[in-house]
Amino acid sequence: MRGHETLSRLRMGGYKPAMVWLTALDGPCSRATFLDAENTLAWGNFPEIHVEPDDRIAALDFRPLVGTTVLLQGTDRDRLRAIFKHLRQFAPARVITSDGTFFHDTEAE
């Protein structure tokens, strides 16, 4: 997983992002400067967290997402469901999930 460390530092500093992109990738996280999830804030974009296929979902630290709106996306529906279930334990304000074929918004629940 990449991106959570920058976000955690931001939260430690007393700031909150309006939204966070949480992406379940089909391949490994990029560490290239412009694609690395740890750098997105530095480029003036919304923060991102990238989850790799090999990451153990139960062990993912989503604490920096507390109270935020999370835009959860990916292509593997089962994995998205598992991430969504795990993410809810960390009290995000709202989760909007999509894999391109479905759309789910917790505000509509």
């Binding site: 909150k16 804030l41 919304f46 139960a58 334990q89 960390f90």
Partner: protein
């Protein structure tokens, strides 16, 4: 009129308290969480993984994987840097990129030693230089900094090496050039702690050279508890290898030759160098590896026949 959504806003939420309160949720997991990892480990059998040392007899015993730190320690002049230099050539020959950060030797001195190890003799010529340079391109890097270095600078170098150059092995020679002094125990502990974190986060293997305390004499083999400075250094790393040079044998050989005698078999069979693996956190084997020295090539060999290896062909 468009609505502007601010990226970031000040937050009164006590995030630090939330982090602390929820620590167990992340860190305490049911054993089933690691089912896939355990299955993968079982499917792979007990085959060791990671980069190998140049000597075949070590391949089942010790390996160098990403995410770990190895401490190479020994008395001054006992071959730590030279052995590690040869090992680094071997890593590069296996396709794993290497960066050497030596604060005790200029890059050209490091390269001169590598050249002899590659050329397998003590007088390598220009063709050997060109062969080495052609081979090293895209495989081997050197950090040009002599003297001391600030830890923060080195951390940046490690990140750059891992992210941009895709380097897998970083040699740091030596620890004492990166901290304020032998008595800066907290500095040493923090430095090694940061190296372990960087190695894990960037999936690189860091080879850290370290000196040992002055013992009674050089014939006594030092152990991991003899490392200079704080004991936390060897506690934190994954592997500890002590390099020990058999000076007693050297003196015996010198004396025999001076007296015009031949070197007897018993003396000849003794190892010139021992690699003592004192700690091997992710492997079962701990013990001693005997090596023989080929002075012309500055190479260490795996048996007493002392035939230098073709380092560029080591795979």
């Amino acid at each position: 009129m468009s609505t502007v959504v601010p990226l970031i806003t000040p937050d009164s939420f006590d995030y630090r308290a939330w982090m602390a309160e929820n620590e167990p949720r992340i860190k305490v997991q049911g054993a089933e969480t690691w089912e896939d990892d355990l299955l993968a480990a079982v499917r792979g059998g007990n085959e060791p993984v990671g980069a190998r040392l140049p000597w075949a007899k070590t391949h089942d015993r010790i390996r160098f994987r990403g995410g770990e730190v190895t401490l190479w320690m020994g008395i001054n002049g006992h071959g730590k840097s030279q052995i590690l230099g040869q090992a680094a050539l071997g890593f590069a020959a296996q396709g794993e990129r290497v960066c050497v950060a030596s604060f005790e030797m200029r890059p050209v001195s490091t390269l001169k030693r590598m050249l002899r190890q590659v050329a397998m003799n003590d007088r390598p010529g220009e063709p050997a230089v060109r062969r080495l340079m052609q081979w090293a391109k895209g495989r081997f890097w050197l950090y040009d900094q002599l003297g001391t270095v600030k830890p923060e600078m080195l951390y940046a170098v490690i990140r750059y090496c891992a992210d941009k150059l895709k380097i897998k092995h970083i040699v740091i020679d030596s620890l004492m050039k990166c901290v304020r002094g032998e008595d800066d125990y907290n500095g040493q502990k923090d430095f090694v702690d940061s190296l372990c974190t960087l190695a894990r986060d960037h999936d690189v293997h860091i080879h850290l050279v370290h000196h040992v305390r002055k013992g009674e004499n050089e014939e006594k083999i030092p152990g991991k508890f003899d490392a200079k400075g704080t004991g936390a250094v060897s506690d934190q790393v994954d592997q500890v290898i002590t390099c020990w040079r058999n000076k007693r044998k050297e003196r015996t050989v010198e004396k025999l030759l001076r007296q015009g005698h031949e070197i007897d078999m018993e003396t000849r069979d003794q190892a010139d160098e021992l690699l003592i693996v004192d700690k091997n956190r992710h492997g079962e084997w701990e013990g001693t590896i005997s090596l023989w020295y080929h002075p012309q090539s500055l190479q260490y060999t795996g048996d007493k026949r002392c035939i230098p290896l073709d380092m560029l062909g080591t795979a």
